[in-house]
Protein backbone atom coordinates (compact mmCIF):
# COMPACT_ATOMS: atom_id res chain seq x y z
CA UNK A 1 0.00 0.00 0.00
CA UNK A 2 1.31 3.36 -0.92
CA UNK A 3 1.94 5.63 2.01
CA UNK A 4 0.45 9.01 1.71
CA UNK A 5 1.81 12.04 3.35
CA UNK A 6 -0.13 13.42 6.24
CA UNK A 7 0.92 16.87 5.26
CA UNK A 8 -1.36 18.73 2.94
CA UNK A 9 0.23 19.74 -0.29
CA UNK A 10 1.18 23.39 -0.37
CA UNK A 11 0.63 25.27 -3.46
CA UNK A 12 3.86 26.93 -4.45
CA UNK A 13 3.63 30.68 -4.51
CA UNK A 14 7.32 30.96 -5.35
CA UNK A 15 6.96 30.05 -8.98
CA UNK A 16 4.05 32.35 -9.52
CA UNK A 17 5.97 35.41 -8.30
CA UNK A 18 7.61 37.46 -11.01
CA UNK A 19 11.40 37.18 -10.93
CA UNK A 20 12.99 40.32 -9.54
CA UNK A 21 16.52 40.89 -10.62
CA UNK A 22 18.78 41.95 -7.75
CA UNK A 23 19.56 45.62 -7.60
CA UNK A 24 23.11 46.70 -6.83
CA UNK A 25 24.25 49.94 -5.26
CA UNK A 26 27.26 51.44 -3.52
CA UNK A 27 27.61 51.05 0.22
CA UNK A 28 26.68 54.19 2.10
CA UNK A 29 30.18 54.67 3.56
CA UNK A 30 31.97 54.72 0.22
CA UNK A 31 33.49 58.09 -0.54
CA UNK A 32 34.07 58.90 -4.19
CA UNK A 33 34.78 61.97 -6.20
CA UNK A 34 35.24 62.82 -9.84
CA UNK A 35 38.53 64.63 -10.32
CA UNK A 36 39.24 65.87 -13.83
CA UNK A 37 37.01 63.22 -15.34
CA UNK A 38 38.48 60.36 -13.31
CA UNK A 39 36.50 58.74 -10.51
CA UNK A 40 38.56 58.11 -7.36
CA UNK A 41 37.17 55.92 -4.62
CA UNK A 42 37.99 55.68 -0.95
CA UNK A 43 36.64 52.79 1.10
CA UNK A 44 36.41 52.99 4.89
CA UNK A 45 39.30 50.60 5.51
CA UNK A 46 41.62 50.90 2.53
CA UNK A 47 44.80 52.92 2.85
CA UNK A 48 44.86 53.90 -0.79
CA UNK A 49 42.52 55.18 -3.48
CA UNK A 50 40.91 53.03 -6.11
CA UNK A 51 40.61 54.30 -9.64
CA UNK A 52 38.34 53.03 -12.40
CA UNK A 53 39.14 52.08 -15.95
CA UNK A 54 37.13 53.56 -18.80
CA UNK A 55 34.35 50.96 -18.90
CA UNK A 56 34.01 50.98 -15.12
CA UNK A 57 33.58 54.75 -15.32
CA UNK A 58 30.51 54.13 -17.50
CA UNK A 59 29.03 51.76 -14.91
CA UNK A 60 29.83 53.73 -11.78
CA UNK A 61 27.15 56.48 -12.06
CA UNK A 62 24.53 53.80 -12.64
CA UNK A 63 25.65 51.92 -9.54
CA UNK A 64 25.66 55.14 -7.56
CA UNK A 65 21.95 55.43 -8.30
CA UNK A 66 21.32 51.69 -8.01
CA UNK A 67 21.11 49.34 -10.98
CA UNK A 68 20.46 45.75 -11.95
CA UNK A 69 23.08 43.65 -13.70
CA UNK A 70 21.07 43.77 -16.92
CA UNK A 71 20.92 47.54 -16.80
CA UNK A 72 24.70 47.65 -16.42
CA UNK A 73 25.15 45.20 -19.29
CA UNK A 74 22.89 47.28 -21.49
CA UNK A 75 24.94 50.39 -20.70
CA UNK A 76 28.17 48.70 -21.76
CA UNK A 77 26.62 47.33 -24.94
CA UNK A 78 25.35 50.78 -25.81
CA UNK A 79 28.60 52.59 -24.99
CA UNK A 80 31.09 50.20 -26.58
CA UNK A 81 28.99 48.30 -29.10
CA UNK A 82 29.98 45.06 -27.38
CA UNK A 83 28.43 41.64 -27.81
CA UNK A 84 25.99 41.07 -24.95
CA UNK A 85 27.88 38.00 -23.68
CA UNK A 86 31.11 39.92 -23.53
CA UNK A 87 29.49 42.87 -21.76
CA UNK A 88 27.87 40.51 -19.25
CA UNK A 89 31.23 38.91 -18.49
CA UNK A 90 32.81 42.33 -17.90
CA UNK A 91 29.97 43.48 -15.67
CA UNK A 92 30.08 40.30 -13.60
CA UNK A 93 33.83 40.64 -13.13
CA UNK A 94 33.41 44.28 -12.13
CA UNK A 95 30.66 43.48 -9.62
CA UNK A 96 32.76 40.65 -8.22
CA UNK A 97 35.71 43.01 -7.79
CA UNK A 98 33.59 45.66 -6.07
CA UNK A 99 32.10 43.04 -3.76
CA UNK A 100 35.57 41.79 -2.83
CA UNK A 101 36.63 45.33 -1.97
CA UNK A 102 33.55 45.88 0.17
CA UNK A 103 32.16 48.58 -2.09
CA UNK A 104 28.98 46.94 -3.32
CA UNK A 105 25.65 46.61 -1.53
CA UNK A 106 22.74 44.51 -2.72
CA UNK A 107 19.43 46.30 -2.35
Amino acid sequence: MKKTSAKPKRSSTKSSRPFREPQYALKADILYREVEGQILILTPRAEFLYTLNASAQVLWPLLARGATEQKLVAALVREYDLARVEAQRDVQAFLHDLRAKGILARK
Binding site: L31, R33, V35, E36, Q38, L40, L42, E47, F48, L49, T51
Partner: protein, 327 residues
Protein backbone atom coordinates in the same frame (compact mmCIF):
# COMPACT_ATOMS: atom_id res chain seq x y z
CA UNK B 1 42.15 60.49 17.70
CA UNK B 2 41.33 63.06 15.06
CA UNK B 3 44.67 62.51 13.34
CA UNK B 4 45.24 61.56 9.71
CA UNK B 5 48.57 60.36 8.41
CA UNK B 6 49.70 60.25 4.79
CA UNK B 7 52.85 58.82 3.28
CA UNK B 8 54.27 58.41 -0.18
CA UNK B 9 54.38 54.74 -1.21
CA UNK B 10 58.04 55.01 -2.20
CA UNK B 11 58.97 55.37 1.49
CA UNK B 12 58.32 51.83 2.75
CA UNK B 13 60.01 52.48 6.10
CA UNK B 14 58.04 55.62 6.90
CA UNK B 15 54.85 53.93 5.74
CA UNK B 16 55.44 50.94 8.01
CA UNK B 17 56.06 53.26 10.95
CA UNK B 18 52.83 55.17 10.38
CA UNK B 19 50.81 52.03 9.68
CA UNK B 20 52.07 50.58 12.94
CA UNK B 21 51.38 53.82 14.80
CA UNK B 22 47.85 53.68 13.44
CA UNK B 23 47.40 50.10 14.66
CA UNK B 24 48.96 50.56 18.07
CA UNK B 25 47.94 54.07 19.04
CA UNK B 26 44.77 54.44 16.98
CA UNK B 27 44.89 57.35 14.54
CA UNK B 28 41.78 58.14 12.52
CA UNK B 29 43.19 56.95 9.19
CA UNK B 30 46.45 56.29 7.39
CA UNK B 31 46.70 56.76 3.64
CA UNK B 32 49.35 55.64 1.19
CA UNK B 33 49.93 58.02 -1.72
CA UNK B 34 51.03 56.30 -4.91
CA UNK B 35 51.54 59.51 -6.89
CA UNK B 36 52.91 62.70 -5.36
CA UNK B 37 53.48 64.64 -8.55
CA UNK B 38 52.11 68.12 -7.79
CA UNK B 39 49.42 67.78 -10.48
CA UNK B 40 48.32 64.26 -9.49
CA UNK B 41 44.61 63.53 -9.15
CA UNK B 42 45.34 61.69 -5.93
CA UNK B 43 46.74 64.81 -4.29
CA UNK B 44 43.77 66.80 -5.52
CA UNK B 45 41.41 64.21 -4.04
CA UNK B 46 43.16 64.15 -0.68
CA UNK B 47 43.42 67.94 -0.63
CA UNK B 48 39.63 68.14 -0.87
CA UNK B 49 39.27 65.27 1.60
CA UNK B 50 41.39 67.06 4.20
CA UNK B 51 39.50 70.32 3.67
CA UNK B 52 36.21 68.55 4.26
CA UNK B 53 37.22 66.31 7.17
CA UNK B 54 39.31 69.05 8.87
CA UNK B 55 41.37 66.74 11.13
CA UNK B 56 43.07 68.25 14.17
CA UNK B 57 46.49 67.00 13.08
CA UNK B 58 47.89 65.65 9.81
CA UNK B 59 51.14 63.69 9.97
CA UNK B 60 53.19 63.26 6.79
CA UNK B 61 55.62 60.37 6.51
CA UNK B 62 59.08 61.82 5.72
CA UNK B 63 59.07 64.52 3.03
CA UNK B 64 58.08 64.52 -0.63
CA UNK B 65 57.72 67.67 -2.68
CA UNK B 66 54.11 66.81 -3.53
CA UNK B 67 53.10 67.09 0.12
CA UNK B 68 53.18 70.86 -0.36
CA UNK B 69 49.92 70.70 -2.26
CA UNK B 70 48.27 68.97 0.70
CA UNK B 71 49.76 71.44 3.15
CA UNK B 72 48.27 74.25 1.05
CA UNK B 73 44.88 72.56 1.21
CA UNK B 74 44.78 72.16 4.99
CA UNK B 75 42.19 74.18 6.87
CA UNK B 76 43.82 76.88 9.04
CA UNK B 77 42.88 75.12 12.26
CA UNK B 78 44.53 71.85 11.22
CA UNK B 79 48.08 71.43 12.46
CA UNK B 80 50.68 69.72 10.29
CA UNK B 81 53.51 67.45 11.36
CA UNK B 82 56.20 65.45 9.61
CA UNK B 83 57.34 62.15 11.04
CA UNK B 84 61.04 61.89 10.22
CA UNK B 85 62.00 58.24 10.47
CA UNK B 86 65.64 58.29 9.37
CA UNK B 87 68.46 58.43 11.88
CA UNK B 88 71.16 61.08 11.64
CA UNK B 89 73.57 58.64 9.98
CA UNK B 90 70.89 57.58 7.52
CA UNK B 91 70.34 61.19 6.47
CA UNK B 92 73.97 61.42 5.37
CA UNK B 93 74.19 57.96 3.82
CA UNK B 94 70.91 58.37 1.92
CA UNK B 95 71.56 62.03 0.96
CA UNK B 96 68.43 63.32 2.70
CA UNK B 97 69.90 66.52 4.13
CA UNK B 98 68.03 68.81 1.71
CA UNK B 99 64.65 67.27 2.61
CA UNK B 100 65.43 67.53 6.32
CA UNK B 101 66.35 71.18 5.98
CA UNK B 102 63.08 71.81 4.15
CA UNK B 103 61.08 70.14 6.91
CA UNK B 104 62.86 71.93 9.73
CA UNK B 105 62.31 75.36 8.20
CA UNK B 106 58.86 74.90 6.71
CA UNK B 107 56.51 77.49 8.21
CA UNK B 108 53.39 75.33 7.90
CA UNK B 109 54.86 72.23 9.59
CA UNK B 110 54.18 72.84 13.27
CA UNK B 111 55.64 69.62 14.66
CA UNK B 112 58.66 67.62 13.60
CA UNK B 113 58.45 64.12 15.03
CA UNK B 114 61.64 62.07 15.08
CA UNK B 115 61.77 58.36 15.53
CA UNK B 116 65.44 58.49 16.44
CA UNK B 117 65.88 59.63 20.03
CA UNK B 118 69.25 61.30 19.38
CA UNK B 119 67.80 63.46 16.62
CA UNK B 120 65.02 64.78 18.84
CA UNK B 121 67.45 65.35 21.69
CA UNK B 122 69.89 67.27 19.49
CA UNK B 123 67.11 69.55 18.19
CA UNK B 124 65.25 69.84 21.49
CA UNK B 125 66.10 73.54 21.87
CA UNK B 126 63.87 74.45 18.92
CA UNK B 127 60.75 73.43 20.81
CA UNK B 128 59.02 71.84 17.82
CA UNK B 129 61.15 68.69 17.48
CA UNK B 130 59.79 65.77 19.48
CA UNK B 131 60.58 62.11 19.84
CA UNK B 132 57.78 59.85 18.63
CA UNK B 133 59.03 56.30 19.16
CA UNK B 134 58.45 53.41 16.80
CA UNK B 135 55.74 50.98 17.87
CA UNK B 136 54.92 47.49 16.68
CA UNK B 137 51.58 45.71 16.66
CA UNK B 138 52.26 42.86 19.03
CA UNK B 139 51.98 39.29 17.88
CA UNK B 140 51.08 37.72 21.17
CA UNK B 141 52.49 34.29 20.45
CA UNK B 142 56.03 33.49 19.35
CA UNK B 143 56.40 31.32 16.29
CA UNK B 144 56.32 27.54 16.49
CA UNK B 145 59.89 26.33 16.87
CA UNK B 146 61.72 25.87 13.62
CA UNK B 147 62.18 22.27 12.58
CA UNK B 148 64.72 23.06 9.88
CA UNK B 149 67.25 20.33 9.24
CA UNK B 150 69.63 23.06 8.16
CA UNK B 151 69.46 26.39 10.04
CA UNK B 152 68.24 29.39 8.07
CA UNK B 153 70.12 32.70 8.27
CA UNK B 154 68.29 35.73 6.90
CA UNK B 155 69.42 39.05 5.48
CA UNK B 156 66.30 40.97 4.51
CA UNK B 157 66.45 44.52 3.22
CA UNK B 158 65.28 46.56 0.25
CA UNK B 159 67.65 47.40 -2.63
CA UNK B 160 67.88 51.10 -1.79
CA UNK B 161 69.25 50.22 1.67
CA UNK B 162 72.32 48.24 0.62
CA UNK B 163 74.73 51.06 1.46
CA UNK B 164 73.84 51.18 5.12
CA UNK B 165 72.90 47.54 5.68
CA UNK B 166 76.49 46.37 5.70
CA UNK B 167 75.99 43.77 3.03
CA UNK B 168 79.56 42.81 2.22
CA UNK B 169 80.60 42.24 5.84
CA UNK B 170 77.48 40.12 6.33
CA UNK B 171 78.20 38.07 3.20
CA UNK B 172 81.81 37.49 4.29
CA UNK B 173 80.67 36.44 7.77
CA UNK B 174 78.26 33.91 6.27
CA UNK B 175 80.92 32.65 3.85
CA UNK B 176 83.18 31.88 6.81
CA UNK B 177 80.74 29.41 8.37
CA UNK B 178 81.73 25.77 8.29
CA UNK B 179 78.47 24.33 9.65
CA UNK B 180 75.61 23.77 7.23
CA UNK B 181 73.20 26.66 6.74
CA UNK B 182 70.99 28.22 4.11
CA UNK B 183 71.02 31.98 3.56
CA UNK B 184 67.62 33.62 2.88
CA UNK B 185 67.62 36.88 0.94
CA UNK B 186 65.00 39.40 -0.21
CA UNK B 187 66.35 40.31 -3.64
CA UNK B 188 70.06 40.82 -3.01
CA UNK B 189 71.08 38.30 -5.66
CA UNK B 190 69.21 40.34 -8.29
CA UNK B 191 72.12 42.75 -8.03
CA UNK B 192 74.76 41.25 -10.37
CA UNK B 193 77.72 42.30 -8.21
CA UNK B 194 76.36 40.75 -5.05
CA UNK B 195 75.20 37.65 -6.95
CA UNK B 196 78.75 37.09 -8.19
CA UNK B 197 80.07 37.52 -4.65
CA UNK B 198 77.51 35.09 -3.24
CA UNK B 199 78.29 32.53 -5.94
CA UNK B 200 82.02 33.15 -5.78
CA UNK B 201 82.12 32.51 -2.02
CA UNK B 202 80.10 29.31 -2.46
CA UNK B 203 77.27 30.57 -0.25
CA UNK B 204 74.17 28.39 -0.31
CA UNK B 205 71.32 30.87 -0.60
CA UNK B 206 67.70 31.17 -1.53
CA UNK B 207 66.50 34.53 -2.74
CA UNK B 208 62.78 35.19 -2.24
CA UNK B 209 62.90 38.55 -3.98
CA UNK B 210 60.97 41.50 -2.61
CA UNK B 211 58.29 39.98 -0.40
CA UNK B 212 54.91 41.34 0.54
CA UNK B 213 52.32 38.71 1.41
CA UNK B 214 54.72 35.81 1.84
CA UNK B 215 57.07 37.76 4.12
CA UNK B 216 55.56 36.53 7.40
CA UNK B 217 55.57 32.91 6.20
CA UNK B 218 59.21 33.07 5.07
CA UNK B 219 60.23 34.88 8.25
CA UNK B 220 58.71 32.12 10.36
CA UNK B 221 61.26 29.68 8.86
CA UNK B 222 64.27 31.76 9.86
CA UNK B 223 66.58 30.69 12.72
CA UNK B 224 69.02 33.60 12.85
CA UNK B 225 68.67 37.11 11.43
CA UNK B 226 71.49 39.37 10.24
CA UNK B 227 70.99 43.17 10.56
CA UNK B 228 74.47 44.46 11.36
CA UNK B 229 73.71 47.90 9.89
CA UNK B 230 75.89 51.00 9.81
CA UNK B 231 72.93 53.29 10.55
CA UNK B 232 69.33 52.70 11.65
CA UNK B 233 66.54 54.69 13.24
CA UNK B 234 64.81 51.55 14.56
CA UNK B 235 65.04 48.52 12.20
CA UNK B 236 61.63 46.94 11.88
CA UNK B 237 63.09 43.84 10.25
CA UNK B 238 65.15 43.10 13.38
CA UNK B 239 62.08 43.74 15.55
CA UNK B 240 59.97 41.43 13.39
CA UNK B 241 62.50 38.63 13.91
CA UNK B 242 62.74 39.16 17.65
CA UNK B 243 58.99 39.48 18.00
CA UNK B 244 58.83 35.87 16.80
CA UNK B 245 61.57 34.77 19.17
CA UNK B 246 64.23 34.65 16.44
CA UNK B 247 67.64 36.00 17.55
CA UNK B 248 69.16 38.66 15.28
CA UNK B 249 72.78 39.73 15.02
CA UNK B 250 72.75 43.52 15.10
CA UNK B 251 75.19 46.39 15.40
CA UNK B 252 75.09 48.98 18.20
CA UNK B 253 73.24 51.18 15.70
CA UNK B 254 70.02 49.15 15.80
CA UNK B 255 67.61 50.76 18.31
CA UNK B 256 65.11 47.89 18.02
CA UNK B 257 67.54 45.91 20.19
CA UNK B 258 68.56 48.65 22.60
CA UNK B 259 68.51 47.82 26.32
CA UNK B 260 68.61 44.07 25.85
CA UNK B 261 69.65 41.82 28.78
CA UNK B 262 73.37 41.06 28.97
CA UNK B 263 73.01 37.54 27.62
CA UNK B 264 71.34 38.80 24.45
CA UNK B 265 73.89 41.60 24.08
CA UNK B 266 76.81 39.19 24.46
CA UNK B 267 75.64 36.91 21.67
CA UNK B 268 73.69 39.22 19.37
CA UNK B 269 75.29 42.67 19.43
CA UNK B 270 78.34 43.16 17.21
CA UNK B 271 80.63 45.89 18.53
CA UNK B 272 82.34 46.62 15.24
CA UNK B 273 80.03 46.23 12.23
CA UNK B 274 83.00 46.70 9.89
CA UNK B 275 84.63 43.53 11.18
CA UNK B 276 83.42 40.40 9.38
CA UNK B 277 85.41 38.23 11.78
CA UNK B 278 83.40 39.45 14.77
CA UNK B 279 80.11 38.93 12.92
CA UNK B 280 81.27 35.48 11.80
CA UNK B 281 82.25 34.46 15.32
CA UNK B 282 78.87 35.43 16.80
CA UNK B 283 77.09 33.73 13.91
CA UNK B 284 79.19 30.60 14.44
CA UNK B 285 78.16 30.44 18.10
CA UNK B 286 74.44 30.75 17.33
CA UNK B 287 74.65 28.14 14.56
CA UNK B 288 76.44 25.72 16.86
CA UNK B 289 74.08 26.11 19.85
CA UNK B 290 70.45 25.68 18.79
CA UNK B 291 69.03 25.44 22.32
CA UNK B 292 70.90 28.53 23.46
CA UNK B 293 69.79 30.26 20.27
CA UNK B 294 66.13 29.66 21.10
CA UNK B 295 66.60 30.74 24.67
CA UNK B 296 68.29 33.99 23.59
CA UNK B 297 65.45 34.59 21.12
CA UNK B 298 62.88 34.18 23.92
CA UNK B 299 64.69 36.58 26.26
CA UNK B 300 65.07 39.17 23.50
CA UNK B 301 61.41 38.83 22.64
CA UNK B 302 60.28 39.49 26.21
CA UNK B 303 62.43 42.62 26.39
CA UNK B 304 61.23 43.87 23.00
CA UNK B 305 57.59 43.53 24.02
CA UNK B 306 58.25 45.37 27.29
CA UNK B 307 60.00 48.23 25.47
CA UNK B 308 57.23 48.30 22.89
CA UNK B 309 54.58 48.77 25.58
CA UNK B 310 56.53 51.74 26.92
CA UNK B 311 56.87 53.17 23.40
CA UNK B 312 53.14 52.84 22.74
CA UNK B 313 52.43 54.61 26.01
CA UNK B 314 54.89 57.41 25.16
CA UNK B 315 53.43 57.86 21.68
CA UNK B 316 49.86 58.01 23.01
CA UNK B 317 50.79 60.54 25.67
CA UNK B 318 52.60 62.78 23.20
CA UNK B 319 49.78 62.78 20.65
CA UNK B 320 47.14 63.39 23.32
CA UNK B 321 49.13 66.32 24.68
CA UNK B 322 49.35 67.83 21.21
CA UNK B 323 45.65 67.32 20.53
CA UNK B 324 44.81 69.14 23.76
CA UNK B 325 46.60 72.25 22.51
CA UNK B 326 44.63 72.31 19.25
CA UNK B 327 41.31 74.17 19.53
Amino acid sequence: MNIISLCYAAFPGANAVLQNLNRTVGLSRHFVLSNVQPDSLELKFFGEYLRETHPALVIFGAWAQGYQRLLDALPDATQAAVYWTSSTGQVDISSEAAQLERVLNHPRIRYKFFMHRAFAAALQGRGDCLELPATIPVATRPRVRSANAVPVISLFCSPNEYRRKNILNSILAVAMQTRPYIFYLSGLSENPNYRRLLDGFGIRYRDWGWMTRQYARVLSRVDIGLQVSFAESFNYVAAEHVQRGIPVLVSRMVPALYNMPRRVERHCVVENPDDPLEIASKLKYLLAHPTERQSIGDIARRQLLKTNEENICQAKTLLHQILQTIP
